[in-house]
């Protein structure tokens, strides 16, 4: 039974895209991954419109005082088990925004993260490899 659960989760991770005040570059690269050239539907990865349907949250952008409560709320709305994948260097170490008064990140101070994908923005290949690593950890 546990094996079946794991197989289902690995073969169909539905992704919800949480754009937490990013500069949009990572978001555009995420959309790139879904285009016919990379076609992640081969692995059963689908972008869904509601956090209730999601198995993985792709968070982008540096976490600030305004977006913190929203990200936490989306995380609580997602049915468990769910993965949290940080896309972009901002999610790892606040990048160039670290000295700002408004920044409360990085993310792992507040929610459990599974994988960080560095890059500003990361290449689509890097995003796919990051998601694969997250699925292997399950």
């Amino acid at each position: 039974m546990a094996n079946a659960k794991l197989w289902g989760l690995k073969k169909s991770p539905w992704v919800f895209h949480v754009a937490a005040a990013s500069c949009n570059n990572c978001d555009i690269e995420i959309l790139d991954v879904l285009t016919p050239r990379w076609d992640v539907e081969r692995f059963g990865i689908v972008l869904v419109g509601s956090p209730r349907h999601a198995d993985a949250l792709l968070v982008t952008g540096v976490l600030n005082r305004k977006s913190l409560s929203r990200v936490l709320r989306v995380y609580e709305q997602t049915p468990k088990p769910c993965l949290v994948i940080g896309v972009g260097t901002c999610t790892c170490d606040n990048h160039m925004f670290a000295p700002s008064y408004n920044v409360v990140g990085p993310y792992d101070k507040h929610i459990p993260m599974d994988v960080y994908i560095p890059g500003c923005p990361p290449k689509p290949e890097a995003i796919i490899s990051g998601v694969v690593k997250a699925l292997k950890r399950l």
Partner: protein, 306 residues
């Protein structure tokens, strides 16, 4: 013994399990054809089953303050209606003389249950976007049901005024399918477009428009309830083309029916992939003024025996 047989026919073949397995496979065909049209590779064949399994084993969240019973009644209603419909359609096609008077009316009501379940579940989920989706679903339902019922009336006229489903199939076996006449072609176009709207496929996917209202009526569903909705969608994709074949294309008692069925399914998927989504008022105008007038022309032609 007969109780066991009835239970078998409702639960295994041709009821729930058979229809669900074939229906989920058809959703894979839908996704694969869509992917090939996009020049992509598309998901592997086990994808819908993996989705289903994953959803079954995930947490099911019921929104705070919503009615638990009504929220879960939504998908169950569609599932029950589709199971009964599958059993009825198969038994009628295997044994056309053994049906009861008025079963066509029962089928029309059973086809109305899944959208009703969607409306109940969506309005119970206490989400503004779901409410918008429900209001659109309701408008859409009134839009496509009128031409659909007129097309059904055309078929009843062509079968000599009988509302017994078996008589329709027997009349087609005696005199050739109704499709091979002008009013038959018009009826087929009307029922095909209503099928598209009943399935919620792209030109008419206004109630669950992903880009405007996220997932519309499905927005609060997760886990088992969402899995049930997906199964219902798959079962509808299986049963609605079968309904079209049995009322217009001579039933599915022979092996040719498989080819006819695949033709209709691929046609539905092609319509889905080559059209943009229309607005709800455009949908209403299309179904009442465009398709509605067409279906009335079909009815008049059927009166004159064309």
């Amino acid at each position: 013994m007969s109780v066991v047989r009835v239970l078998f026919s409702y639960l295994i073949f041709p009821g729930f399990v058979f229809t669900a397995v074939i229906g989920l496979f058809l959703t894979w065909i839908d996704r694969k054809v869509t992917a090939r049209i996009h020049w992509r590779v598309g998901p592997p064949w086990y994808q819908p089953y993996a989705d289903f399994l994953k959803l079954l084993l995930k947490e099911t969240i019921i929104p705070e303050g919503s009615s638990k019973i009504l929220f879960l009644l939504g998908p169950v209603l569609g599932l029950v209606a589709m199971t009964i419909l599958a059993v009825m359609l198969f038994s009628m096609n295997m044994n056309p003389s053994g049906t009861f008077v008025g079963d066509l009316i029962v089928i029309v009501y059973l086809l109305a249950l899944p959208p009703l379940g969607l409306m109940i579940g969506g309005s119970a989920s206490k989400n503004p976007l779901a409410s918008v989706g429900v209001s659109r679903e309701m408008t859409q339902y009134f839009a496509y049901e009128l031409p659909f019922l007129i097309a059904i009336a055309t078929i009843i006229l062509k079968a000599g005024g009988s509302i017994r489903f078996g008589d329709i199939i027997l009349a087609q076996q005696a005199n050739g399918p109704f499709l091979y006449s002008i009013s038959g072609v018009i009826g087929a176009i009307v029922i095909l477009l209503s099928t598209q709207a009943k399935l919620g496929f792209v030109p008419f996917d206004i109630p669950e428009a992903e880009q405007e209202i996220m997932a519309g009526v499905y927005i609060e569903y997760s886990g088992v309830a969402l899995a049930m909705y997906r199964v219902v969608r798959g079962m509808m994709l299986f049963i609605l083309p079968l309904f079209l074949i049995s009322v217009l294309w001579g039933g599915f008692g022979d092996w040719w029916a498989i080819l006819k069925f695949l033709l209709i399914v691929v046609l539905i998927i092609l319509i889905k992939n080559t059209n943009p989504r229309i607005r709800i008022d455009q949908s209403l105008r299309f179904f009442w003024l465009g398709i509605g007038v067409l279906s009335i022309i079909g009815l008049v032609l059927a009166v004159y025996g064309l």
